[in-house]
Every structure is written in structure tokens, then in C-alpha cells.
């Protein structure tokens, strides 16, 4: 009994020492070395691929933003989309931090609703209606059946920086009208901001909303 106890203690001691040494190697040296290389070779990417416009940082090319009208504080109303700008996908799964509340963090996330979930069915229906209403302009009505899936569903992260080319094209007439621009000019902007699949087959074609809106702002002014 005594010797097996001693044996166990010896094993635990070895385990602790192994853990501490491997923590030094994998938890200190490795991340610092990778950080060193990353900050030397890929400084821009390692720090969040930030985009600067007119001398100030306006976000990251990788992180989606909302383009909403300012909310009057205290009314408790949901923010309405600012229809001058191209709109991103819904983000019903995003949250705000519930702990460490001296920070105002965005919690990435999805809605986790199943296909037969009543709430999700309602969100999709409402979004479909809103998208077709908001994007219908005189002479260019948008039918609910024209609205692509990504326009009415929330992404996995809630921070999807892209929309499908179909959803971008659907917004062209509205955006042109609101900014007093020629629709052909706006359609050209969408075209030039559409990325194809990588190497022709990896991923999906997509439009980066922030970059498109920056180009739009430059054209409008």
C-alpha cells in the first residue's frame, strides 16, 4: 500500500514536471515564435486586415458590419437599415457580452435554429418581405422569389463580410436611386467587387460589402 502510494506520487510528480516543460514549449515559445514571424512577414493580416479610408480605419475587410440608420436611444426600437448603402446578411445570432461587462464586446455566433423552428420561419419570411419591399424601385419591382437565400438567413459567425453576387445585383437599383447615381455605374461597381471562386473551384463567388460601400461612397461624393 505504502509503496503504491509512493509510486503514484512519483508518477504525478513526473506528470506535473512534463506538463510545465511542455507548457513552456507549446504555450510560450511556440506562440511567441509564430507571432514574431507573423508580425514580420504578414503584419497586415496578423493585425486584422484593417482598411483605411480618408485617413481613418473603417473596419476590417474580413469582418462584416451593419449599415443602419442611427437609433434614437431609449426608444428600444430595432435599428432600421440605411438604404443608401449595400446591406449585409442578417445577423440574428450575434450577441453582446454578459460577463466582463466593462467591455462592449460583440459575441460572434449563429441562431442555431432548425429548419422547422417557428421563429426561424418567421425571420426568413419577414426578411424576404423586407428585402423585396426595400429594393423595389419605380420601374424595377423585386419579387420575393427573386431574393437569394443568403439575403434572408443569418451566417454562422454573424460577421459574414460577404453577400452573394445575386444579392448585390438585386440592390443595385435601390442604391443607385438613393445616391443619385446611374444604375449602370453602380452595377459596374458590383461587378468589379465580385470575387470568383479561388482557382475557379474553391468556395463560392462573393462580394465584400465594406469594400463595395467604400467604392460607392467614393463615387457618390
Amino acid at each position: 500500500m505504502n509503496s503504491s502510494l509512493k509510486n503514484t506520487a512519483r508518477m504525478l510528480g513526473a506528470g506535473l514536471r512534463a506538463l510545465l516543460v511542455l507548457t513552456l514549449v507549446c504555450g510560450v515559445v511556440y506562440p511567441l515564435a509564430v507571432t514574431g514571424v507573423a508580425q514580420t512577414l504578414f503584419r497586415d493580416q496578423a493585425n486584422g486586415s484593417e482598411i483605411t479610408s480618408e485617413g481613418r480605419v473603417v473596419g476590417s475587410s474580413l469582418i462584416g458590419q451593419r449599415y443602419d440608420l442611427p437609433v434614437t436611444t431609449g426608444t428600444g426600437e430595432a435599428a432600421a437599415p440605411d438604404l443608401r448603402w449595400f446591406q449585409p446578411r442578417p445577423s440574428n445570432g450575434l450577441g453582446a457580452n454578459g460577463v466582463n461587462t466593462r467591455y462592449a464586446l460583440i459575441l460572434s455566433g449563429a441562431t442555431n435554429r432548425a429548419g422547422d423552428n417557428a421563429e426561424l420561419v418567421r425571420w426568413v419570411k419577414d426578411a424576404k418581405e423586407a428585402v423585396s419591399r426595400d429594393n423595389s424601385t419605380p420601374g424595377h419591382p423585386v419579387a420575393p422569389s427573386d431574393v437569394p437565400a443568403d439575403a434572408v438567413t443569418s451566417s454562422g459567425s454573424g460577421l459574414d463580410p460577404h453577400i452573394s453576387p445575386a444579392y448585390a445585383r438585386l440592390q443595385v437599383n435601390r442604391v443607385a436611386e438613393r445616391n443619385g447615381l446611374d444604375a449602370g455605374r453602380v452595377a459596374e461597381l458590383v461587378e468589379s467587387h465580385t470575387s470568383d471562386r479561388v482557382l475557379g473551384f474553391i468556395g463560392e463567388p462573393r462580394v465584400n460589402v465594406l469594400q463595395l460601400n467604400l467604392a460607392l461612397r467614393a463615387s457618390a461624393s
Partner: protein
């Protein structure tokens, strides 16, 4: 190009890339675990541990090493979270509550990486990088060590010795996981994954004003998260978060990292038992299941059955535009057929059948190709059972790789197979019978049941993915899933090592005309059949209540 064609081409590209590195990596791992020389850094580590790396261990001694190292790991990680509030370099985040700290410690040490916390608001630099990421390495190295010990059981004769645990642990970390992780992390940074220690800082926005981001050592953690089939995300959205998985290319690369070691270990196995073709037969079984599951998943997600998806015109809920349906299907099958559990799309919003494929993938015991190490030893236990069934059919003493599969061996294999289903079904039944656990469901009906079945399947199989509609941060779920993860990891290891010990003692029997040829396609087919039948018999009633009911209703 249609999304379906793009998905098939991505699958082919992935298979080609895996095929390219299969031989060099498999052979490198065989050398790693067989050679007599020690690197200088390894000698330095052995000295610090105070262990003799050449001392051979019997199976109980090897097991004691595994358990002691892992027990210390749980305790250390638990304490690190409990004192986070006073640790420097923790962004001023408060300490983690006891039940969640236990759950998280059990989760990362058992290679599960189930997360009941939100990474970006709860864990500071020290816990993420110095605690969680470290277990991403060493829990994977422990899995590989146990697999190698079982392979030695097949390769050795007249000895009860299975190698040295400390040496296997250190070599797996230093010679396999670290170098590949360094390369992987740098590739990911080049794609746009962040790697800094900026902490929480404001970043300007398009409409004006700023928003707060949490900057940390993400790329270094992301690389080993996939390579070690761990799966715990830096951020809550895991690999759907653009800072963890920014481009279609990084997405394919992450799936590659997930599958890299589990597939290549079959080559290591073949090398070490002296017959590469034995390794190929195992590989063929793994690859067949993987390809079939991936194609099925792409089909059901592209067909988008389900009320909300039909109205929307596509199953894009919980999926990112840049990956699309195919890139999400590819990832979600790879993550549930291995023990990874990282997600780039949210499985709860898959179609009913898609969610069922995720569940079934885990319930196969994660053997196609499975977690690093655990996939290989799980598959070898299944091979033992397959050989046994074949032996019963022809009335002959079964043999595998020249080792007799007798009462002892089959007892250990049977115990191994019983552990996980007992945990999954037992805990699911308890949670459904009790009053409060059900309050955590987001969805009701069949999908709500699936949420709970998924949680325990994921925990006991050490996967870590979730039907995340379930609010799992309750005392009940933190505690019971924590227990399921620990028992689901370490009890099977006990039986694997006992099996290895009993095999290594034997005198090999010579191959005769009546020996089952275990390197032929016939055996691969038998192996796949055994896995499907055992899993089907075990889980069919539970699956019928959840995803099947939901899939048939839509």
C-alpha cells in the same frame, strides 16, 4: 460551375493533397516512434521531467503514465481558470465559475474541446494560449502515444512491453505536432488569421464610431486545433469566424489539417507491423466512409429540405457566404468523423438529415479517419471484432496480424465498444427524464431531443461540436458532460492498453491457407460492415426519435 461540382472538385483536391503527404508523413511518424536517437531538446525535456526515455513499460505502467499526466492536466487547467481574475495578461477577465472551469478542463484534456463558454468574452491570453492551446498539443500527443502502444502490441512478441510513455508523449509533440503547427499557423496568417497580443481594442467602423475587438494568438491556436483534432475555437463562432477562417482557401487548408494525421497514421501502422498493405486496408475503410458521408451531406444540404430553408431558397442559415453549402458540408463531415468538433457552419441549422449525418459520424466511434491516435486505435479494435465475427462464421480461432484473438482480447474489445454508448444513452435518458435539463433546449420536439443526444454523443466521443441551440452552461450539463468526456476518453484507453499488453505477450501464429487475409478488399468490406452494424444496432432507436423523425417530417 454549380455548387455541387465545386464541392466534388474540392473533395478531389483534398484527397489528392492528403495522398501527396500520406507516405512522407506516415513514414516520418513511424521513424519518430521507432528510432533510438534523442534530439537535444528532447534530452533536455527528459531531464526536466526526471524520466528515463529508454525504460520500457508494461501496459499498467504505460497506463499510469497516461492517467497521471492527464490528471495533472485537468487540475492545472482548472486552477488556471479559477485564478484568471488575478493573473496578469488576462485582459482583466474574471475567474471562471467552478462547474464551467471543471467542464472546460475535462474538455481540453480529453481532446474534446466542448465549450460552454464564449471565448471572446471569457478567456484571456494566459488561459487561451498557456492553458487551452497547450492541451491541444499534449492531449493529441497522448492519443497518438496510446495508438502507437497498441500498434507495438501487434508488432512485438514474447514481451509485455509497449514502449515508454514519456518518450512517446515528448516525441509526438516535438517531432510531429510542433513542426506541422508552425507551418500551418504561418499559412493561416498569410490567409488572414490574426496573430497578435493586442487584447481588447477599438477599431473604426464605416458609419463612424468604433467597435471593440479581441485580438490574440489565434493562428497559432487554430493550427494545432485542427492538426490535433481538438476543435476548441478562440472565438465563439469557431472556424466560422472570419479571424479563424478568413477565405475559401483557408477553409480547405483547415479541413486538410484535420484529416492529415489520422489518415497518415495508417501508414505508420503498416510500417510498424511490417506490412504496408495492412495499413492500406484500414485506410480504405476510413476513406470509403469519409467520401460517402461527404457526398451524402452535400446532397442533403443542397436539396435544403425544411420549412425555413424552402422559403429562403437554400440552407444558408448558419453558413458563411465564402464557404457556401459545399465548403460547409466538407468541413462538417470531416469534423464529426474525426474527434475535432470545430465548426465552420452551425450543425443545429443543418437539414434534418444533415444533422443526422453529423450525429452518426460521431457515433461510428470517430474512426473514419477519427481523432489523432484515437481514430487508429478505434479502427484497430473494430478490426479485432471484425476478425472475430469472421472467425465465428467459419468456426476457426480468429487471428489478426498473427495474434490470436481469444477470450481476453475480445473481452477488452467489447468493453471498449460498450463504454461510449453506455455514457451517451445513459446520460441522454437521464437528461430527458429529469425536469430542468430540458429547459436548455432552443428548439422543441424532435430537434430538441437531438440537441441533447448530440451533446452527450459529442462529449462521450470527445468530439466537441454542438447542436449549439442547447444552453449547455448550466450546472447539470457542465458536470455531466464533463464526466462523459473524461470517462469517454480514458476508460477506452484502459481497454486499448490492456489489449495491447495481451497481444504483445503472445507467440505469433504462422499464417496458413485458412488465415483471413486482412489486407484484401474483402476484409475492408467486412470492417465497414461491422462498424455500421454495431453502430446501427446501438443507436438506431435514439436516432429514430431525433434526426430521422425530423428528416422524414420535412
Amino acid at each position: 460551375m454549380s455548387p455541387a461540382l465545386s464541392g466534388v472538385l474540392q473533395l478531389l483536391a483534398l484527397a489528392a493533397a492528403l495522398g501527396l503527404v500520406y507516405r512522407p508523413l506516415g513514414d516520418h511518424m513511424a521513424r519518430t516512434y521507432s528510432c533510438d536517437r534523442h534530439l537535444r531538446v528532447e534530452r533536455w525535456i527528459y531531464k526536466a521531467i526526471g524520466a528515463d526515455p529508454t525504460g520500457e513499460m508494461s501496459w499498467p505502467a504505460y497506463l499510469r503514465g497516461v492517467l497521471a499526466f492527464s490528471a495533472v492536466g485537468v487540475l492545472f487547467l482548472y486552477l488556471l481558470q479559477r485564478v484568471q481574475g488575478v493573473l496578469p495578461g488576462s485582459l482583466g477577465f474574471s475567474s471562471i465559475d467552478p462547474d464551467q472551469a471543471f467542464n472546460t478542463a475535462a474538455s481540453f484534456v480529453s481532446n474534446t474541446n466542448w465549450q460552454s463558454y464564449y471565448g471572446e468574452q471569457a478567456m484571456g491570453h494566459v488561459v487561451q494560449t498557456g492553458g487551452l492551446a497547450v492541451q491541444n498539443f499534449v492531449s493529441a500527443a497522448v492519443g497518438m502515444a496510446v495508438a502507437v502502444a497498441l500498434v507495438r502490441g501487434f508488432a512485438r512478441a514474447h514481451t509485455g512491453e509497449l514502449g515508454n510513455f514519456w518518450s512517446d508523449l515528448v516525441r509526438g509533440t516535438v517531432r510531429v505536432l510542433l513542426p506541422v503547427s508552425v507551418i500551418g499557423a504561418i499559412v493561416l496568417v498569410a490567409c488572414g488569421v490574426i496573430q497578435n497580443f493586442a487584447g481588447i481594442h477599438g477599431v473604426g467602423q464605416f458609419p463612424g464610431g468604433t467597435q471593440q475587438w479581441n485580438g490574440g494568438a489565434v493562428a497559432s491556436q487554430e493550427a494545432v486545433k485542427h492538426l490535433g483534432t481538438n476543435g476548441g475555437g478562440y472565438f465563439n463562432a469557431n472556424s466560422a469566424h472570419p479571424f479563424e477562417n478568413p477565405t475559401p482557401l483557408s477553409n480547405l487548408f483547415e479541413v486538410f489539417l484535420i484529416l492529415l494525421i489520422p489518415f497518415a497514421l495508417t501508414r505508420t501502422f503498416g510500417r510498424m507491423v511490417g506490412s504496408l498493405r495492412q495499413g492500406y486496408a484500414i485506410l480504405a475503410a476510413m476513406a470509403t466512409i469519409w467520401v460517402v458521408f461527404t457526398l451524402l451531406m452535400m446532397w442533403t444540404e443542397l436539396a435544403h429540405r425544411g420549412t425555413a430553408f424552402e422559403i429562403a431558397g437554400g440552407a444558408m442559415e448558419g453558413k458563411e457566404t465564402r464557404f457556401g453549402i459545399s465548403g460547409s458540408a466538407l468541413f462538417s463531415v470531416a469534423t464529426t468523423l474525426t474527434s475535432t468538433g470545430a465548426v465552420n457552419s452551425f450543425h443545429s441549422s443543418n437539414t434534418g438529415l444533415g444533422g443526422g449525418i453529423n450525429l452518426l459520424g460521431m457515433q461510428l466511434g470517430e474512426t473514419a479517419p477519427g481523432g489523432v491516435g484515437s481514430g487508429l486505435y478505434g479502427m484497430l479494435v473494430m478490426a479485432v471484432v471484425a476478425v472475430f465475427i469472421a472467425g465465428l462464421m467459419v468456426g476457426r480461432t480468429p487471428e489478426y496480424l498473427g495474434r490470436k484473438i481469444g477470450t481476453r482480447q475480445i473481452t477488452f474489445a467489447a468493453c471498449y465498444l460498450l463504454v461510449t454508448p453506455a455514457l451517451v444513452l445513459g446520460f441522454t435518458a437521464a437528461a430527458m427524464a429529469l425536469d430542468t435539463p430540458g429547459h436548455s433546449m432552443t428548439n422543441s420536439g424532435a430537434h430538441g431531443f437531438s440537441e441533447i443526444l448530440y451533446a452527450y454523443t459529442s462529449g462521450a466521443n470527445n468530439n466537441g461540436s454542438a447542436f449549439a441551440g442547447l444552453d449547455a452552461d448550466t450546472q447539470w450539463f457542465n458536470t455531466t458532460i464533463g464526466i462523459a468526456m473524461l470517462l469517454g476518453r480514458f476508460l477506452p484507453m484502459v481497454f486499448v492498453l490492456a489489449l495491447a499488453g495481451s497481444l504483445a505477450e503472445q507467440t505469433p501464429v504462422p499464417e496458413t491457407a485458412g488465415t483471413l487475409r486482412t489486407h484484401k478488399p474483402l476484409f475492408t468490406g467486412l470492417l465497414i460492415g461491422t462498424i455500421l452494424i454495431i453502430t446501427g444496432l446501438t443507436y438506431f432507436p435514439a436516432l429514430a426519435l431525433g434526426p430521422l423523425a425530423e428528416g422524414l417530417a420535412s
